[in-house]
């Protein structure tokens, strides 16, 4: 296999990497907010379950979580899984894992907003919902951009864990190519590394741009 063919194959598989990345963010960024609200729920059992969920997500390897989500339904619950379950299980595992981290990031952001903001909103007659969406959320977003950037960069690299379940994203492809006869060998991994690096470079630049956009106030 020529080097250019190898790069092309990686590029094609990279589409899956980007898909996992985007679907995870689309799912976990809002879900993190829901998790945060559950953690702050007035109903104690909801709080306990949420605490437990967050501590499991943060306390065990993502690779193991992928396995559990993938094999769990059929082995534990004897449910027949759809044909594209490999991919779906990957997304589900990534989303619930990252949502737990985002919930904690949001918590930090929301709790750093001074009490006076809530009080000013209350005295002006804003409802709880209005207070959250008009006063708290916009300020929270600005505050959580730096830690969120960290997570998003980690996610780019974590997509390679999908290969655990045999999802053919770029890293799986790289492994397949590298061990094949007459392949560019180690050069394949170097190419994969460059792909990740460039993607993260773009992701960081984008996050920096958002940070700058939100710098119109202090």
């Amino acid at each position: 296999m020529t080097v250019s063919k190898m790069v092309l194959e990686l590029a094609i598989a990279f589409e899956q990497t980007i898909l996992i990345f985007l679907l995870t963010l689309i799912g976990s960024l809002p879900l993190g907010l829901v998790v945060y609200f559950c953690k702050k729920s007035k109903v104690a059992p909801i709080r306990w379950i949420t605490e437990l969920y967050i501590s499991i997500m943060r306390g065990t390897p993502l690779m193991l979580q992928l396995m559990v989500v993938y094999f769990g339904p059929s082995l534990l619950l004897h449910i027949s899984v759809p044909s594209n379950w490999r991919f779906m299980a990957t997304i589900v595992a990534f989303v619930i894992n990252y949502a737990a981290y985002f919930a904690e990031i949001y918590r930090g952001g929301i709790e750093s907003i001074p009490q006076g903001q809530y009080e000013a909103a209350q005295v002006l007659g804003y409802s709880k919902l209005q207070t959250f969406f008009k006063v708290i959320l916009p300020q929270m977003i600005k505050r959580v951009i730096p830690p969120t950037t960290n997570e998003v960069i980690t996610l780019v690299k974590d997509t390679s864990l999908a290969s655990t379940l045999g999802v053919v994203e770029m890293f799986t492809k790289a492994k397949q190519i590298a061990v094949a006869p007459k392949s560019p060998g180690m050069l394949t991994f170097l190419a994969a590394a460059i792909f990740y690096y460039i993607f993260n470079f773009i992701v960081s630049a984008f996050m920096k741009w958002i940070e700058k956009k939100l710098n119109y106030y202090r």
Partner: protein, 251 residues
Amino acid sequence: MNVLKMEHISKSFGDNHVLKDISLTVDKGEVVSVIGPSGSGKSTLLRCATFLETLDGGTLSYLGENAAWMEDGKIKYAKNLKPFYKDFGLVFQSFNLFPHRTVLKNIIDAPVSVQKRDKKEVTAEAMELLRKMGLEDKADFYPYQLSGGQQQRVSIVRALAMKPEILFFDEPTSALDPELTGEVLKVIKQLAEEKMTMVIITHEMGFARAVSDRVIFMDGGVIVEQGDPEEVFGNTQSERMKSFLQNYNKD
């Protein structure tokens, strides 16, 4: 007519009795200053009046409508407090403007989205109020671009834009440099001349004396002395207020 009526108000934080059986009635157009040492319960009184703290006991009413009262020995709040929020405004010591919004948006958002008033009309009124405060060129600024005195004047405009019947001030100049204090006090004085009903917690004794119809001296969760400012300052009765004023004049 009474705009605000608080009767036999009590409030504790744990074992700390911050307010002990306080009664305060404010008539329309009246300017009341509340003075006293820190920890005397002044701020808590305003926070109870504005629903930022929940009363332990007593009666609280605006314009004759009960917001909180005693029932079977327990405090009971009106089911829907929302209508009461249009009766009062509160100006905080630390301004509490919304930093992510321009001055104008800070002012007009609540009248538009809470009171459902016409945006054009509210904007015109807001601009008029800003003009009155000499801040018309700051409408598109963000709070961080303003001095403390300007921020506090904006927060006064924000409260006024809700057209409250009574305006509360919780140490409005305590977070300001002495040179910025004057511009805020001037605005409050102007409001007093326009017969705005106000309750002002302040440490500015000269100001309280000049602007108020009535001065209240609080200490240890009770009203120790109150009355006409000339009387209260010129002919202080209680020892506690005498020593408070003496300590004050020392610095």
